[in-house]
Amino acid sequence: MTETRKIRVLIAKPGLDGHDRGAKVVARALRDAGFEVIYTGLRQTPEQIAETALQEDVDVVGLSILSGAHMRLFPEIMQLLKEREMADVLVIAGGIIPEDDFEPLKKLGIKEIFGPGTPTGEIVDFIRKHTK
């Protein structure tokens, strides 16, 4: 009855867009892979996302954004996570993110950016591989 540590994932939607199709498909796929998935709902501020990640003590934060505001919002989220001693949490992103932004985002500590059409299985594998 001692359980193996369960992977907990926060799926967060910063930005003002309402496109949650991708976030929800991923959330369901992660649930089916046996993870505990906490979904924030739409239009969350960086502060709300970081604090939720802290209180829920998640292993993974998945950010989904399609509004184009990622270069403004992601650095803020990463900073707020750091302030909460959560720099070691695995942060991944998806949505519409231009390739040119990949490098600066990865420098911030975002481990992977999944483009449109990524099979959900690939995301599951990535998370398994990068969490202990």
């Binding site: 359980e3 540590r5 046996g34 998935v37 709902g41 501020t45 502060e47 604090e51 939720t52 802290l54």
Partner: protein, 321 residues
């Protein structure tokens, strides 16, 4: 790589949110380190008012909790919330969405919200919910609200945990009249008819009233029935007052002692059960005997009662290594 639990405990007692969150994760894995930490924390618990919020799925529990947080915060009380959602029995995964309703408090550091998957435990809570409540209590939260899974029938765990249980129902077709008949009524200290903005709230009120008068003992606490609209906040003031009244009643009538003892009894019972079973399943020797007895029961070489007695005797007699 066990984290230093003593260190964690120290931080939790100072109200550190990160430490509390990490300790909660540990307790969810039911690890011995976590139990060691709870042992250290336990003396600092018992101060919070623990309120259970239960009722069918979609009855508005999370929405109501959100409004209650607002009220308690306006009285400058700090709040902890534990919201339990069902885990899939097949994959163990879970989608935890309760806190969406409470997002506006995400950046209020005097509110701590934690979502839990039920992880195979029936009864409306998770195994570790009790421990998570202890942690919130030790952190110094004044009010702790526990939102149950909401699967209906078997949600009796909440009485083992909460001092005051608010049972939600909604107007509409008679499906939760069934729950009333099933005796779940007995767990509520306060009955809230949510979605009173919808048709049928008055009818539900009368139904509840007559169902309640049947089971009434005469003196003591008479569970009030309140109409609320969680989406707009209508009736929340009265609900907060009823919760407060119940608490005062417990204190004044010294029911609180009985209430606490009953809850400690149940908690102890749960832990003993769990520890026994865990020992059986985890310890290789015990496990061998257990499996052997299962086979014997199956082959009718023995019966389940005799087998259980033998196991318990064996467990008691085996000296600790």
């Amino acid at each position: 790589m066990a984290p230093d639990t003593t260190e964690l405990v120290k931080h939790v007692l100072k109200g550190n949110r990160r430490a509390a969150a990490r300790l909660m994760t540990l307790t969810e894995s039911l690890s011995p380190e976590a139990h060691a930490a709870i042992k250290q924390l336990y003396p600092y618990t018992g101060k919070a008012h623990i309120i259970g919020i239960t009722g069918p799925p979609g009855s508005g529990k999370s929405t109501l909790v959100d409004k209650l947080i607002e009220k308690y915060r306006s009285h400058n009380l700090s709040v902890g919330v534990v919201a339990v959602d069902p885990s899939s029995p097949f994959t163990g995964g879970a989608l935890l969405g309760d806190r969406i309703r409470m997002n506006r408090f995400a950046s209020d550091h005097d509110v701590f919200i934690r979502s839990m998957g039920s992880r195979g435990h029936l009864g409306g809570l998770a195994w570790a919910t009790m421990d998570v409540v202890h942690i919130l209590d030790a952190m110094g939260k004044d009010i702790i609200m526990v939102e149950t899974v909401g699967a209906g029938q078997a949600e009796v765990d909440i009485v083992q945990l909460a001092e005051t249980v608010v049972l939600l129902s909604v107007p509409g077709l008679g499906d939760d009249i069934q729950t009333i008949k099933a005796g779940i009524m007995e767990i509520g200290n306060i009955f809230a008819i949510n979605k009173a903005d919808l048709d049928g709230a008055d009818r539900r009120f009368v139904e509840l009233q007559s169902a309640l008068s049947l089971g009434q003992e005469g003196d003591g606490w008479e569970p009030p029935i309140l109409k609320v609209v969680a989406t707009t906040g209508e009736g929340i003031e009265d609900l907060v007052k009823a919760i407060q009244d119940h608490h005062e009643y417990l204190v004044e009538s010294e029911e609180i002692v009985k209430n606490r003892e009953r809850r400690c009894y149940a908690q102890l019972e749960t832990i003993i059960e769990r520890s026994f079973i865990r020992k059986l399943l985890m310890d290789p020797d015990e496990r061998t005997l257990f499996d052997k007895l299962v086979a014997e029961v199956d082959q009718r070489k023995t019966d389940p009662y005799t087998a259980a007695e033998r196991l318990i005797l064996h467990l008691i007699k085996t000296p600790k290594k």
